[in-house]
Symmetry: C2
Subunit: 347 residues, 2 copies
């Protein structure tokens, strides 16, 4: 006996350790389960007092809808699959931060996967995310395995490809033109009067965008009749440490440059550290320019001249565009979140 005066069949109140279900709420509110469901999802017309009764019952029981059941019944779930190349590079947590910001106030939640820059890993993650029938999948770049592309295109799930807009998206692309950013770097350095420009980069086999910036840089220079006078690429992923080493190597090779364009801010900050340690004045001895606009670059004794890439905005904008249109549209869309030069003191 777990109740007094209640008939055996009365399970309007869930017993002790039992979690309440729609049925419990429905009974307590004296309506059908369906009505409770409608109230919760804010769907269809509900009489104000009915809504009140239902909400009271929900509160009384501390009812929390079972998402698995909801997803199964509706064959769709309030999950946003988020695929990131890496968590080591601060850039991607910042994108995730934007995604999260765009999700506040909704009942969607990000479910994440990290590819480590492997397209095969991305494919596995896509498959396992699709198993949840998510509302959307957000990934980076336009490169996917054939199987991955087929899965993405074949699903009715909305797809966003972030960071880059220099190619044709499956559904939605949000980011900036890295090629244009590279050209802008070239123009800036030339305008500032530098003419012997070197490039310091990291391994770009997995980082297509770094390569696009490099190409833009070269194009931008050649438009003014210049070209790179020296370049050095490490075989490691980008990091401050690598940047420091790479600039040191480039200079040790005797490169006669007056400015160094780096593949990104991590590398550039490392370069700055090398200059400090080596007693090389910046920018008079050597000008430095990065890409991304990370906080750390702006706290250097001389703020780094760089290109702001708006990572947060990329994530937030993507989510907003995705949630605005739950169905995948006929036409793919591209949203350019742009970039801007941060005029620091190093170039």
């Amino acid at each position: 006996m777990d109740g007094e005066g209640r008939s055996i069949a009365d399970d309007s109140v869930p017993s002790a350790a039992e979690t309440p279900t729609l049925a419990h709420v429905a009974r307590l509110a004296k309506v059908s389960e369906n009505t409770v469901s409608r109230v919760i999802r804010n769907k269809g017309p509900i009489a104000p007092e009915t809504r009140l009764r239902v909400n009271a019952a929900i509160d009384a029981l501390g009812y929390v809808p079972n998402r698995a059941a909801g997803s199964l019944a509706s064959s769709s779930s309030p999950i946003i699959g988020v695929i990131l190349p890496s968590l080591s590079n601060i850039v991607f947590p910042e994108v995730l931060r934007g995604i999260n910001a765009g999700l506040i106030g909704t009942s969607y939640r990000p479910m994440i996967g990290v590819t480590d820059y492997s397209l095969e890993t991305e494919q596995d993650i896509i498959s396992s995310l699709l198993a949840w029938h998510p509302a959307a999948i957000i990934t980076t770049g336009f490169e996917h395995t054939t199987a991955a592309r087929r899965m993405l295109e074949g699903s009715r799930v909305r797809i966003a490809e972030l960071m880059d807009i220099d190619d044709r998206p499956i559904d939605l692309a949000v980011g900036l033109s890295h090629r244009e950013a590279g050209r802008a770097m070239a123009r800036h350095l030339v305008q500032r009067g530098y003419s012997r420009i070197g490039y310091v980069g990291h391994d770009w086999t997995a980082d297509r965008r770094a390569r696009l910036r490099y190409e833009g840089l070269c194009e931008g220079l050649s438009e003014t009749g210049l070209s790179l006078v020296a370049e050095y690429r490490t075989e490691a992923p980008s990091s401050t440490l690598e940047g420091r080493r790479a600039l040191a190597s480039l200079l040790a090779d005797g490169a006669a440059i007056d400015a160094a364009a780096f593949s990104n801010d991590d590398m550039a900050v490392g370069g700055f550290m090398h200059c400090m340690a080596a007693g090389m004045p910046v920018p008079d001895g050597l000008a430095l320019m990065g890409f991304n606009g990370l906080e750390i670059g702006q706290v250097l004794p001389k703020p780094l001249t760089t290109v702001l890439s708006n990572r947060f905005a990329i994530g937030k904008t993507a989510i907003e565009a995705l949630l605005e249109t739950p169905q995948r549209p006929q036409e793919a869309r591209i949203i350019d979140t742009g970039f801007s030069i941060i005029e620091g003191a190093t170039a």
Copy 2:
């Protein structure tokens, strides 16, 4: 007509845009759905050839189990709820990286929530994560609202509380003693011969661990007959910029210190930048010590003396301990991932 020579009832092959289900696989492999389910979950005895047939059918159809259905039926899901205070502070993405590393090779996926250091937000996130009946929930610290604590304790879900071990966990705690880390900082500075020690910190109303380190620092000093000779706390969250400002303010107030202990590395790196910009020699004019062991501190012209906090290990260890024991054990457990002094060149 969508097939030739096939009877109307033959749906062993899902039609065009239809995603295959267990039933499709079962029919193709000529076994019951049940058997397919067993093969997939590796449960119960299966005849080798049956397994082969089933796997072949799975591959042929490109079958991917519907997670919502599985979760509903088993009332548990391969989700790890991960609650982080922030994504702006690199420390938490690193913990997430550890969690992700511990999840590789499993079918669990992290579903994340960000509290922005608000306990009320944490409570909401806990409730919405519990709606998925996750395998575990990982959060930080021991402070939760009463309702949140009730939910966590009441659920049969495994709970890990990360970062800190200076209190009693609900189920599992993984981290380090921040109080001890503070004492270690004090001991290190004193051993190095510094005696006029100042403290530079950030807002700790939401960051209990920074406060614990501060208390440990004070205790450690007093054990050697010393005490802080100056301190400055900004009202902002920690950042390099704030660290730079804070040290500048402390020194502008005329503090006569020979060493500054910072609340963390972000603040300490900012302090280093101030010294560089102000022409103050480190460590001879002023010694600096941080906490965390971030990469950026190690790339400064002089590597930062700091305390390594093993964020990656915290995340990875937590996952491993959680997955090892799916049921919540009777006794709560504490795993100390420890810390170690990084003997840099700034103190």
